[in-house]
Subunit: 449 residues, 2 copies
């Protein structure tokens, strides 16, 4: 059932383009899903790929443009004229068109907008461009079916048929008053099962979730997931229905959010991908490396200050990497669990129960690890007191790392900072510094300096 | 618009339960969304919460049961009789009911199934229990609207109205032949705009994505996202339509997948949450800590073997944490980008272009970091050759870590192992060991041992 890209298909496409066999190209295009066709375009020459958009019917190619990887699309758009781009955009949903326009340079943006043929559509697109990307306004589209509360079911079905022409998925029919203010909704199923003369005002459901244009996209995602919604209407400050967000728009938000947490944990600031430029990749990564470096320079001071200790007990120093790694691992585990708990709502704020559970887990892990080390060190180096000192300090360091790992993300969250930062290089390197300090302090205490 | 949980509401609910005011409870329940009601139940006593399910109409409470956090639901289910549970399940969609049954003990499972009233529904649920959780069969539900290819539009609409009674979202109408084999689909919109006497076989669309019961859930998610589907039919080995997966089922798969990557990166094996037990939390975390410990013991050997070197050049040892952290950070960054690239398809296999880009980024970062260190070390310690040795080795270590970070996830992916493991403790600690080896080897080379 599933499409598989093949060398033959790529060659066939290339040949058709080279021989400018537009008719056969159109046939090939019709046979394929636009997402599959986009995949093949990734494999061929950029000028050949551009040819498809220059020559074939925009009604067919617009969706393909949408499915391309960002950098290929960018390159193709550069090769198309403003008029050619406008033709593609005329075929797309308002929010998809607005997204593509958002990728263009300032001058080309204005040119493309002026070339749009469908005036209503163009107005909607320009309207969408006003909203920040990470708000309900930025992810909504203008396509929706709305009916007036004063109509009856018959008028409603007629109107709906007209409006639904341009909409791939109806989901809900929204009910508005004469001022376009959102009053409620009707389901398609209700329409199918109600007599045609019934007044809309008698059948619509007035209980309805909605968001305003400036609601944050992650909040929209949260609401839609909590209430299991497939679409949510968006209203402006006056309560007027201005757009709709569907679940497929939200999947991207959910994925981006998860990706962002993952990237922050890995010490990457911006949303980057494998096909970004060296400059962008470096810009997203270098700051965390430098922060890590600066913090670890502090660690070098701590070690320098303890030189006399490890000159006397040389095995202390050789376990520093083990200590750092263990502290780092425990700390990241602790904060990752808190970050996910905050994200999915199982943890809302500091909880004494949870904190003592975390300390119990760390205590058990610390005890097991320190027992291993005590035995290992005693067998290998026969310095029992040093082994004892190492074991005790590793327990203390583990408890400290677990505490930091639990409390820092909660503290950040309380202060409206993304807690995911607490799973990244900043916290692991800070853990290193404190860990080494504690290690030598405990060791000195036990070995008597 | 949005629901806010309040102390008053909790107290009101507690009071109604304590006074057994079932009528008012029902009113309160009707006024609220089940997801909101579930949130309040999290805040009250477990026996009080159980009362709701024992006394109130299952038609109302079943959805609430579904929305509860896993551990609260588990506790409530323990307090309910098999008959009481069966009453709730009779009200739920087949896959939701099957999920809840899956959480029960073996004996209770059988008891509950025997108590189910709706025989058809019970058969469907039992059928779903056969499939592994992470397959299309495990996440599909039985609720769908299907029509026979030999009907006409009028019969179809009539049948649909009957079938749609039990289905919250219709999405697509599936067309089957007399043997129940999937032939194609009809959209609600098509039905609304086609004359009633038209034969279904004339209007249905035969091009249609479907999956088989044993397709992996992540693969279903990929297909649905790629083709932007809101529902996909599931067929058995003989091509017979057996169920349907909707986009809200898939959101959970997408989130779980992202969570899993994040947890693997943080060194957590199982899918755990803040409210899991100490035992479960320890079981998910300790193995990685022990693996890290064992690998870092190797690091201690490497340091022990180089004791003579850092006794002569003492500043070498104090930069070991800096070196480890930088190698670790670079390695995790590199592998996180690859893991995400593999997940979202921008990277499919080893790419020479991408690898040389990664090396360029690391080279630039390494150069900047080593320059800082060279200057810093020269100013602080005035041992120019040692500073030079540290700077050179850090560049070599960074390049090595970037190489390992890029190639290991690609290698794992090629061998069908989850590449996300390569962002966790295993790779960071391995990086430590190699990093320290390279560090001292390069230093020895430059300082002439």
């Amino acid at each position: 059932m599933e499409f598989k890209i093949s060398k033959e298909l790529i060659q066939q496409l290339e040949q058709l383009i080279q021989t400018k066999n537009d008719q056969q190209l159109e046939v090939l295009l019709n046979d394929m899903h636009h997402a599959d066709f986009a995949e093949i375009l990734e494999e061929i020459d950029i000028d050949e790929a551009t040819y498809i958009f220059k020559v074939l019917d925009s009604e067919k190619t617009a969706e393909i443009l949408l499915e391309l990887e960002d950098d290929l699309r960018e390159n193709i758009l550069k090769r198309l004229s403003a008029k050619e781009i406008a033709e593609e955009l005329d075929e797309l949903d308002t929010n998809d068109a607005a997204d593509i326009i958002g990728e263009l340079s300032k001058e080309k943006k204005a040119e493309v907008i002026s070339e749009l043929q469908d005036v209503e559509h163009a107005k909607d697109i320009v309207d969408l461009l006003r909203y920040p990307e990470d708000t309900a306004g930025g992810i909504m589209h203008k396509e929706l079916v709305k009916v007036n509360e004063n109509w009856n079911v018959l008028t409603c079905v007629k109107e709906m048929r007209i409006q639904a022409e341009n909409i791939s998925r109806v989901h809900s029919i929204y009910v508005v008053d004469d001022e376009d203010r959102l009053k409620g909704r009707l389901s398609l199923k209700d329409l199918l099962t109600t007599s045609t003369r019934t007044a809309i005002s008698d059948v619509y459901i007035s209980k309805l979730n909605s968001v305003t244009v400036d609601t944050e996209d992650v909040e929209v995602a949260r609401i839609m997931q909590k209430y299991d919604l497939e679409a949510i209407p968006v209203v402006d400050e006056l309560g007027r229905l201005v757009g709709r967000i569907t679940i497929d728009d939200i999947i991207d938000v959910i994925k981006d959010e998860a990706d962002k947490d993952y990237q922050l944990a890995a010490g990457i600031t911006n949303d980057i991908e494998t096909n970004d430029s060296v400059y962008e990749l470096t810009k997203a990564r270098l700051p965390w490396l430098l922060i890590g470096m600066v913090i670890e320079i502090i660690a070098s001071f701590v070690l320098k200050g303890n030189e006399a200790v490890f000159e006397k007990y040389s095995t202390l120093i050789i376990f520093v990497p083990l200590l750092s790694a263990t502290a780092g691992n425990i700390g990241v585990q602790a904060s990752a669990i808190v970050v996910q708990g905050l994200a999915n709502g199982t943890l809302k704020t500091y909880s004494r129960d949870y904190f003592s559970k975390e300390l119990t887990v760390s205590m058990i892990s610390g005890f097991i690890i320190s027992m291993f080390l005590l035995v290992y060190h005693s067998v290998m180096y026969q310095q029992y007191m040093v082994g004892f000192a190492i074991s005790i300090s590793i327990v203390v360091v583990i408890l400290f790392a677990a505490t930091l790992g639990t409390l820092v993300p909660l503290f950040l969250h309380k202060n409206k900072i993304d807690p995911a930062i607490a799973t990244g290089p900043f916290i692991t390197t800070t853990n290193d510094v404190f860990g080494i300090m504690i290690y030598f302090a405990v060791a000195k205490l036990i070995l008597g300096f």
